[in-house]
Amino acid sequence: MKNIWKFFTSTRLAVGLTLLITIDVLIGTILLSSSSKALGTIDRKVFFDWLFGAGLNNLAASWWIFLLLALLVLFALNTVVCTVDSISVMLRSGRGAARIKSRRILSQAIHLGFIIGLLGHLVSSTSGFRTMNNRLLEGDSIPVPQSSELSLRLNKLDVAFTNRGDMLRMDAYLSLLRDKKVVRDKVVRLNEPLLYQGNAVYITHHGKTPESMKFKISGKGAQEIIKIKFHKGSVTSNRGYTFKMGRLISDFARDNKGEAYSASKKLQNPALEVKIYKGEKFLVSGWLLLKNPDKTPLAFDGLKLVFSGLDYKPYAVLTINKDPGTVIVLSGSLIFIISLILLLFVKGEAMELVRRQT
């Protein structure tokens, strides 16, 4: 036991391990770029989920990560043992100039920061979740993953480009709801996620998807636009007519009996069947050619129905993550960096880049 402890107090071991880690990660750097297919999915999941899933199946590209893990375990042990050893020596001796003492304390605080950071990273690598490609339509809501009561609503999406097509902004006006009550409103944009109780919501891209078909009704001295949503399939107009979507045909043709059929699988001459009702009463049905809408108006009750295009709805694509380790990593890093900066200054002459020449 004593021998093992002694082994891990060795500075030689520490330096040797850092050199091995350097060489291992050097190879890893090259593999990360040359094996992007095998390693490309690594950031989509919680690290250990990936490592012991896809990582194990792609050992030719991922072996260095397993080696890195092993080296890091040894190095962490090395650091813990060195730190405990130094602190106990410091406590026992208790003597020495104040400057040397504070230098020693800071060195050990640096080691401690590293260990805390590494532990935090272990938490990150094993817990929480990562989800990409959460598509959210304007006005819609989606549940926050792994949470029974939280959901997200996209109130508005504001995207703008320059004349040359460079993106100027991509702002998602989001509301976070708990049991349908808003707990946080936030404009999420690049570099500005919504953070709430460890959940983090990012916008990654945006788009538009057709949501409904628009039709114009004209006649009897008035005009009306109606929209039939795809997921509903019907709508009732102000004047009390109900319009229902029927069949959709990709390449419209009629046979010798006048029956509609598709002449091919290509989207050459798409046509939509629309059925019209007044109240419960069926009035008429007919085919609207979507590429030639003006040629195929559907007449009913002295009025005319004409297809007038698709209505698109914007959506945001969100990444929603939760990483409980982040706070620990941040705490460790702050202890590390603050002690390191202080060390530069308490070391007396070492705060100087060079020993001053007199």
């Binding site: 500075t11 030689r12 520490a14 330096v15 391990l17 850092t18 050199l19 880690i21 350097t22 990660v25 050097l26 890893g28 750097t29 090259i30 990360l32 770029s33 040359s34 992007s36 390693l39 690594i42 950031d43 990273h121 990562r130 320059t162 040359r164 460079d166 993106m167 100027l168 902004r169 991509m170 944009r189 690049l190 570099n191 500005e192 996620p193 983090a200 990012y202 990444t319 993550n321 990483d323 982040t326 990593v329 941040l330 890093s333 702050l334 590390f336 960096i337 390191l340 900066i341 060390l343 530069l344 070492a350 100087e352 880049l353 060079v354 020993r355 001053r356 020449q357």
Partner: protein, 260 residues
Amino acid sequence: MTEGFLWLTIAFYGAGFISYVISRNGSRRTMRRVSTYLLILALILHTIVLTLRMMETGHAPIARRFETLLFFSWSIAVLNTILLFRYRLRTTEVLTIPVILLALLLAAFSDAGIYRLPLVLNTWWFEIHVVTSFFAYALFTLAAAAGAIYLFKEKKGASTELGIYQNITYRSILWGFTFFSGSMLLGAIWGYLAWGSYWLWESKSAASLLLWFYYVGVLHTRMLKEWRGKTVSVLAIVGFGLVMFTYLGVSIFLKSTHGM
């Protein structure tokens, strides 16, 4: 206009370097003074080039290779000036000015086009992340230069000055390591805000990780008597190679989502 100033800057660094080398052969004080003025003028011109570039692009000059080369060499020149005024020490210039000149020449032949900054780079996190990393690179460069001079002087049998160069190497590595750790922390915070993760497995980040561990090791060689001096100097020079790999090698030879 930036290009004109860039060539002028190169000319001044070149002239300053030549006059410094001449002045070292024998104690030609006037020549040494001339070289000091030339190098200071070169730094002023260099600063003008950076400022012009900033005015042209509207962001800190750190977003493309052309700009980072200008900034990297500028950081080294600033460091040289600190050494000159605070410590009256110039020997390391024999090696650091050639690095500045090489970087500037590489910049002169790089694409200097002006492109709109991608939205995700439009943040202070990015700017301080890059600025701190280039100061770290400059300090590691200085450490390597002092290491090389140490080896050279040791071979020639000089012993009184060796301590100075060992000190420069060790302390600039400690300073460089501090800047580099700061840069990695800032990058991690930015990554968390921009992509949802403080760490991404891609080649530039991995190269930074290896550089960080490497210098952790070098810092600890000082604790071992038999590794002080020669070994530390050699490690500092190898470190410069790793810095170049991380800074330029990754983006030139490897695919990385990190850019630059």
